[in-house]
Amino acid sequence: MSDSRPPLLELQDITKSFGGVTALRGVDFTLRPGEIHGLVGENGAGKSTLMKIIAGVHTGFSGRFLLDGREVHFNSARDARAAGIAMVHQELSVAPDLTVAENVFLGNQPTNALGIVQWRRMAREAAEQLKRLGIDADPMSRLGDLPIGLQQLIEIARVLFSGARIIILDEPTSALSPPEVERLFAALRKLREQGTGIIFISHFIEDILLISDEVTVFRNGRKIMETRAADTSKAALIEAMIGKGRDALEDSYTHDITLPAPPTDKPVVVEADRLSLARNLKQVSFSVYAGEVLGIYGFMGCGQLELARILFGKLAPDAGQLRVSGEPNRFKSTADARRAGIAFVPESRRDMLFLQEPVYKNVSISILDRINAVLLKPARERALAERQVEQLQIRPADVEIDLGLLSGGNQQKVALAKWLSHPPRLLVLCEPTRGMDVGAKSDVIQIVRQLRDKGIAVIVMSTEPETVLSLADRVIVLKRGEVVREFAGETISKDRLLEAA
């Protein structure tokens, strides 16, 4: 690879704002033919925004966009595809009910002159393509019947062999097993030899260092560093990502935080014993004590979401046991978990709130059976809700208003409030401060601390290190479904947390 070849893609001085928020400030980015370009940065650093500009999803931005040295303007993702740019998104976007071959050729099936799909040809070519990725799957089997990792590889295969000259991969390895990652990398290297330009986004710094030629680091919408992968290290990249010692705004979490010793004298509220679930969780064990906040940190796809749903009785583990106050418990429904004293706030507020119902009905829904076995007592419901609204400073302070009219931060407080009128023994919070402004964030942190001080056990799960660091007394790190590290009674910092994951 020589720098004398003209760049495949060149972005100059790209700035992009959403409303009043600037997502990218004056970013330059270059991708050469036959280059694998690694992209790292924290959530919200601007990686995805930049990629969506390249893929034609975001169209309004300032700056120059050059393809093969000529300026282009995409009006849609369709234009970008026509120009040979393809992207694999982080979330699977496959058609599980179609065959493997149909998925490989989705929207692009080979047809004869009459427009009839040529099944045999499609199956043969799909099998050939998959073999190049080392995948040995029957092209006529239903995609949804295959393991998730294999589905992900097949989706990647679709893009890799679509003939695109520029391929963007967003977190492609999070659902893959190590041998699958190997196969993917082998295929990427082959494409590199053919001159394809590849942009590779990942939280897994090892993967970035292993596969990339160039690495670019983003932070707060700016390009912080660009370097050859061979000339850098994991520690240097993490330091650049989190801006240690440079960015005053973020320094609260870059300093060391000393965790208290685990409260082993207090009772264990919930104990997970070798919980396993399909490919998502492997023998996960931990205990959470009364009056402590246990942080569970990991990247997207590390198994957090599944673990939370097992704790709240929404999913049943394939193996392992959940013990509540020492007694083995197998929840048949979320109602069982609630009665056992477990409360849950999922990562998406919409999944637990009734936006078209008034605030007081949202607050009282989980405690109606404690108010009266049969009848509703609206006056008591309102009184309970009013107390929560006052304590949590929910605005506007009107329990009759439809919840959908409140701001996101206030909705999140209502999501918490519904569990507080009758405090649970264990509160499981997923991404409790995601997408909130600073004020709402610190309110939520305050609320969680107060609950902990009352003796409630709290589990905070997040993919954002700040969230875990700002709340947790003890931290475990999940990686690809396994507990890989526990921080307890020692000093912890953001870079140490990131290194463990």
Partner: protein, 345 residues
Amino acid sequence: MAHGDTVPMPEAQARRAGGIASLLRSQMRNIAPFLTLIFLTAFFAVASPSFATLDNVGNILTQVSVTGIIAVGLTFVILCAEIDLSIAAIANVTGIAVAYFTLQESYVNIANVPMPGFAAILLALALCALLGVVNAFGLTVIGIPSFIMTLAMMQIAAGISAMLVRGQIAYKVPPLITTLGSGSIAGIPWIVIVAALMLLLGHLVLTYTRFGRYVYMVGGNREAAEYSGLNVKLILGSVMVISAVCSGIGGMLGVAHFGSAQQNEFDTYLLDSIAAVVVGGTSLFGGRGGIGNTIVGLFVLGVLNNGLDHVNIDSFLKILIRGLILLAALVINVYAQRLRAKAAD
């Protein structure tokens, strides 16, 4: 009675949501059916002198009673965003069952297991409840969509009916059922009183009990209900059983009302009941509406059916007109959902 179940919107909230226009939009599902009812009543009153008489009001009330009893349970089901297509078939089989357990006249050539009246009634109720439990099991434990599950149950119930009567007609039912189905007190037919009481009971359960709140919440956002720690499957199962039992009661009284029990007697009640609930404005997406809406819907259908007889219209055209009214109601139903979502912005 029309808005009996809807919680009045507090003034402050209406103001915040953007005043009277927004209030109208968000209440469209309650207002539109009521206006339809007023319009139809006015139209027939002008078009036919025999329509707006006290006698005819009594006729209409009697005519909608069986549908009303069945529609109580169906309202619960539709509020949960499910459907029950087996209501008419369960009504039919329950009516036949109660006759099957009652001693028939000797000229009725039918297999017959005579029992005391109360036992016949209890056995018939047990039968419809059991069929409801089967519906509930299929929906919640096995996971069959209610549309398909109750379609199968429709056939099963029809099959049991056929086995019991074998093409014959039975006439006798227990005295209590005869009285409630065809008797009257102080000039008011008992069946109207039963229908009114069941509608009232349904309304009270939906409005004032914990279970009623759960029905609305499960219909409003099933995932949120589950994450709030409600036993969603238990609630869905319960509404299927409630629907089957209401259908069974409607079927027993209907048999007494018609004076006979036979195959396919209730076929028209499936569409009529669904139409009453939906025309009344209960959301097909769940979570909105209630018994008040169902009552308005019942009267819209009752006035329409009865009124078309009074204006001397081609009876085949009647079928078409009913279809068009139902379509209009569906359009309003779906549209009201969108308007409300907009009003909430």
